[in-house]
C-alpha cells in the first residue's frame, strides 16, 4: 500500500513501525546513548526507538530536543524514519539535521492502518509511506 504524505526531511528508510498516540519530547524523554524512551508514564516508556519507523502526533517540550535527535543519530540510536500527524519545528529541525527521513499529514489515517512491528518505508524525497 502506498500513502501520500508531505515531505519534511529528505531520504528513504525502512523499519518496523513503533506507534505512539502521545507526543514525544526528546530532551529528557529519550536517552541519547541508548534510544530508550525514559519519560515516566509515556506510552512508549522503556521501549527503544533505535532503527524504528517512529509514528507519533508531534514533538513537545524543549527545543533542545532537536539536538538530542542529532546525538541519537551520532550514536546510531536514532529512529530509521519519522511519521508525524502534524510536524512542528522541534522534530522537523531535528530530523533534517540528523538526516532522518520524515513525512507528515498523510492522506490516510496511519493509526488505523499501521500496526506496531509492521514493516514500513518512509520516502522523504517523494513524500510517501509504503506498507508491504
Amino acid at each position: 500500500m502506498e500513502i501520500k504524505a508531505r515531505s519534511i526531511a529528505r531520504g528513504k528508510a525502512t523499519g518496523q513501525a513503533l506507534i505512539s498516540h502521545a507526543a514525544i519530547g526528546f530532551l529528557g524523554g529519550v536517552d541519547p546513548a541508548t534510544g530508550k524512551v525514559m519519560e515516566k508514564g509515556h506510552p512508549l516508556e522503556g521501549k527503544n526507538i533505535a532503527g524504528k519507523v517512529l509514528v507519533f502526533p508531534n514533538g513537545k517540550g524543549s527545543t533542545v530536543g532537536s539536538y538530542v535527535m542529532l546525538q541519537l543519530a551520532k550514536n546510531k540510536k536514532a529512529p530509521a524514519a519519522i511519521i508525524n500527524v502534524s510536524a512542528e519545528p522541534i522534530i522537523a529541525v531535528g530530523a533534517i539535521i540528523s538526516h532522518i527521513p520524515m513525512v507528515d499529514k498523510a492522506e490516510k489515517d496511519v493509526y488505523a492502518i499501521l500496526k506496531d512491528g509492521q514493516k514500513v518505508t518512509v520516502d522523504g524525497d517523494k513524500g510517501l509511506i509504503l506498507i508491504s
Partner: protein, 390 residues
Amino acid sequence: MRLTKEEQEMLDGGLGDAARESMEILVALGKIYGAERMIPVTSVQVSGVSYKTIGQAGLEYLADLAEKGARTRVQTFLNPAGMDREQWKEMRIPADFAEKQIQVLDAYSRMGITKTCTCAPYFIGIRPKKGEHVAWAESSAVAFANSVLGARTNREGGPSALAAAICGVTPCYGLHLDENRVASLIVDVKCELKGVADFGALGSAVGKLVKTKYPAFRGIKSATEEQLKVLGASMAATGSVPLFFIEKITPEWNVAKDAERITIGAAELDAERKAIDSGLKPDLVTIGCPHASLKEIKEVAELVAKRKPTCEFWVCTSRKMKEEADRLGYSRAISAAGGRVVADTCMVVCPLERMGYSVTGTNSGKAAAYLPNLCKQNVAFGDLEDILYR
C-alpha cells in the same frame, strides 16, 4: 513555496552542505507555517548560546555545522552565554562549564558570528527600523524589536535563526505579515506605574492572561525604553508574547474590533508583586534582565556610591556597554561597593544553581519567572532600593 534561483541553488546543495541543510530547515518551517516565500533579513540573533541550555548535544551540533563550512551572510550576534568571557573565574563559574562554554562560542565564531552576547542589542546600536525584517531569537529582544521598534520578526529558535543567518532569509509568515500584527486583548491600566518593577509586575500579570492574544495597553502615560524592555521581557517570559502595543507610545497600534478587554489596577499589580516576591533577603542581587543600558548602570553606580548594599550584586550587560561603563568610572564605583559589572551573560543562563546562591534579587518579571526553575533560586522581587538594602 516559491524560491528564488539562489534559494533553490542553496536547497540543491550548489552552495555547500551547510547552506543546503539550512535551507532545508527554512523550507520545512515554511511548509509548517504556510509561508509562500522567503524574505531577506537584515540581522539575526541566534539563541542557544549558554552551555547550560544547549548542553553537549547542542555543542556537537554547532561544532559539526562550523566544520561543514557554515558561514553567515548577514549581521549575526548572540544571545547571552553562560558566563562573562573575561571574568568567569572571578564570578566563580565552575571550570568544567567554562571550558564547554568557550567551545560553544568558538564554534559560533568560526561561522563568522560576532561574539556579542546580549539580549538587549537595541542598546548598542542594533536597532532595525520600522517595517524592517529580521530573525531574532531571544524572547524579550523579539518583543522589543516588534513592539518598540516596529521591526518584524517571529520568535526564532536556535537552529532556525542560525539557518536564517547562513541563508540570509527567513520564511515569510506570522509577524512578517501585516494581517497578523493585530492585538485582540485591550489592557486598561488604571494605576500609575512608578518604577521598573511596576512594569515588570504588569508584564508578569498580563503574560499569564494573554493565552495566544497580543495585548494592547491603554492608560500608560509615559515609559522609558528601560521600562518597555522589562514590560516586554516579563510578558514574553510568562506568556510568550512577541508583540504588544501601547496607545500613543509604540509605533504601531492595530486592535481587532472584537478585542477582549481587561483592567489592571493597583490591587492587581500589588497582588502580582506579592505573588512573585518571596520576601526573603537576597544573597545576590542581579540587575540587568534584559541587559542593562548605560543609564541603568549609571543609576546603580550612583545609588551604591551613596550607600553600600548589604549583599553581593551584579549588573549584567553587553560587553560594549561594560566597556563604556569602565571608561566612565561606573564599573569602578560598583566594584567599590562590593558589586560587579558582568558582561556577556545573565543570572538566568549562568549556572547560579552550582554557585552557592539560594535567594536572588531582581526587579525584572522575566528573571523572577525563570530563576526558580532554571537556577533553583528563591526570588526577591522589588525596586533596586528595596532589594539591595533588604
